[in-house]
């Protein structure tokens, strides 16, 4: 029973770590806290759901590509200009939250159902120490971890990755040596939103997606990234896994209604007690 809780928790956490990574990527590189990416990702999830009956692969592609495009565009035409004009964190908070509302509204208006579930194929079950776990869930976890590792590798060893690092460490110097920092920002934003979308797709197939999910994924993702220490990817993963387990256990013990209440409560508590993150980071809020 406890093992079941732990495994469920790990999987939840693993899937959560995708929007966390999305947030961390965007914030780490652009320095802009973007609270809309959860909602945008869920929008992508809804989009995927819409086309799912048509063709699974293409549906997923549409969702992810859409999110990438949105992330790219809003960074380019809205967020980077505000940043150049000297926007502060609170301003970005207000603006991105408003953006989130716009997309929530779009979801409300466009999609016929407020709550959906994505029917992705199941791969059979695996038996771990007496507990039966769906193969698909394991796949989700591995995918999330794999993505994290790949992004880290890209950052360290490719030319583009180095430009990213440079831009996040010293924006002014990056421009002076000729890095197209606007492009870097826009791509980072696109990738962040795509990651959130993949996270939403997984979440939607394991559990469900509704209109509020976007805020959950976005805010929780952000908080988890902060708790783990922004810029510290392993910290982010660990705190995502922990958070996943908290969610799983509170769900078992107290019932669904309380699950999100407890979660937000804990998150608020963490923000109050340890704003710099449990594992510390180079770049705190």
């Amino acid at each position: 029973m406890i093992l079941n809780g732990i495994i469920t928790g790990l999987i939840m956490g693993g899937v959560l770590s995708l929007p966390v990574l999305g947030v961390a990527v965007i914030y780490g590189i652009t320095g802009i806290p973007n609270f809309a990416i959860g909602v945008i990702g869920v929008f992508g999830g809804f989009l995927t759901w819409y086309f799912l009956s048509f063709h699974m692969g293409i549906a997923i592609l549409i969702g992810v590509a859409f999110c990438f495009a949105i992330g790219y565009i809003i960074q380019r035409i809205l967020l980077t200009p505000i940043s150049e004009m000297g926007g502060d964190a609170t301003l970005f908070f207000i603006v991105t939250v408003s953006l989130g509302f716009v997309f929530e509204g779009l979801m409300r208006a466009i999609f016929p159902r407020p709550s959906i579930s994505l029917a992705l194929p199941r791969i059979g079950t695996i038996n771990i120490a007496g507990v039966t776990v769906e193969g698909f869930k394991i796949f989700a976890l591995l995918f999330a971890l794999g993505t994290l590792v790949i992004i880290r590798l890209l950052e360290e060893h490719t030319e583009i990755g180095k430009s990213w690092q440079a831009t996040s460490q010293n924006l002014k110097l990056g421009k002076l040596i000729g890095i197209n920092t606007n492009q870097v920002f826009s791509i980072a934003s696109g990738i962040g939103c795509s990651l959130a979308c993949v996270g939403a797709i997984f979440w939607g197939s394991l559990y469900n997606l509704n209109l509020m999910s976007g805020w959950d994924l976005g805010f929780l993702g952000f908080i988890i990234a902060v708790v783990g220490g922004i810029g510290n990817i392993w910290g982010g993963i660990i705190s995502a896994l922990i958070m996943g387990m908290v969610m799983s256990f509170s769900g078992y013990l107290l019932g669904g209604m309380w699950q999100s209440v407890i979660l937000y409560f804990i998150v608020i508590l963490v923000l109050i007690i340890a704003p710099k993150g449990i594992l510390g980071s180079e770049r705190s809020l």
Partner: protein, 238 residues
């Protein structure tokens, strides 16, 4: 007569209500080493930042290689061949020396990149020794060298350097200036230095004196005496 490749006219810039540059004129010729000297607060940094594009100007024209660049963004100016080494915040702190240089050659062709980086290592052997070290763990002098190294690797036609000698021991200052002269000889780059250190007279072809946002003199170094420059700092010049 050498042609100016960089020409600034009527430049006015301010920080809010405080006027930093008051309609000044400045120029640098091809393959020249030009010094901008003046006391603290004269506006040297402001001038360089305006030319590089990190700071907005109120009025004035900046002409570089035949283009009017005063409204251009930093990236475009760099692509044209203009680069600034700021006084602070001039390295990528969390990357190794090696990575710092690897990222700086981004605008160059792949075939040239290794050569550019090697050149930096040859000019500053200590950077080769410390190449795997994280940049912000280097000493102040070494960081300065890295900053200049970044500029050299970046291979811009015109290098603007903001007070390169600040915080460096006198021996290092001499070495640095020698290195800058060597770069000019080997590669034909134009270098503009802002300085408070009189030693700049040793390598500069021409000097501009800047004080309280105004140009006080513009002379070939051979026509200037050390005393004139010294007086500038003591405020005796008018």
């Amino acid at each position: 007569m050498r042609e100016p490749i960089l020409e600034v006219s009527n430049l006015t810039a301010s920080y809010g209500m405080i006027s930093a540059l008051k309609g000044i004129g400045f120029s640098a010729n091809d393959k020249e080493i030009v010094g901008i000297v003046g006391p603290n607060g004269a506006g040297k940094t402001t001038l360089l930042e305006c030319i590089a594009g990190s700071m907005h100007i109120r009025e004035g024209q900046i002409n570089f290689l035949g283009h009017q660049i005063e409204r251009w963004p930093v990236l475009k100016r760099r692509r044209l061949g203009l680069m600034l080494v700021p006084q602070e915040g001039n390295i990528f702190p969390l990357m190794s020396v090696k990575k710092n240089l690897e990222v700086s050659v981004i605008l160059s062709r792949r075939s040239e990149r290794e050569e550019l980086i090697d050149r930096v290592y040859k000019l500053f052997p200590v950077l080769w020794e410390k190449r795997k070290q994280i940049a912000n763990t280097l000493s102040g002098g070494q960081q300065k060298m890295l900053a200049v190294g970044i500029a050299i690797a970046s291979n811009a036609k015109v290098m603007l350097i903001d007070e390169p000698s600040i915080g460096l021991a006198p021996k290092l200052v001499t070495k640095l200036f020698e290195t800058l002269e060597k770069i000019r000889e080997d590669t034909g780059k134009t270098i503009v230095l802002s300085e408070q250190n009189i030693k700049v007279l040793d390598i500069a072809d021409r000097l501009f004196g800047l004080e309280a946002g105004e140009i006080r003199f513009d002379e070939k170094t051979e026509n200037l005496s050390r005393d004139v420059v010294k007086d500038l700092y003591l405020g005796a010049i008018s």
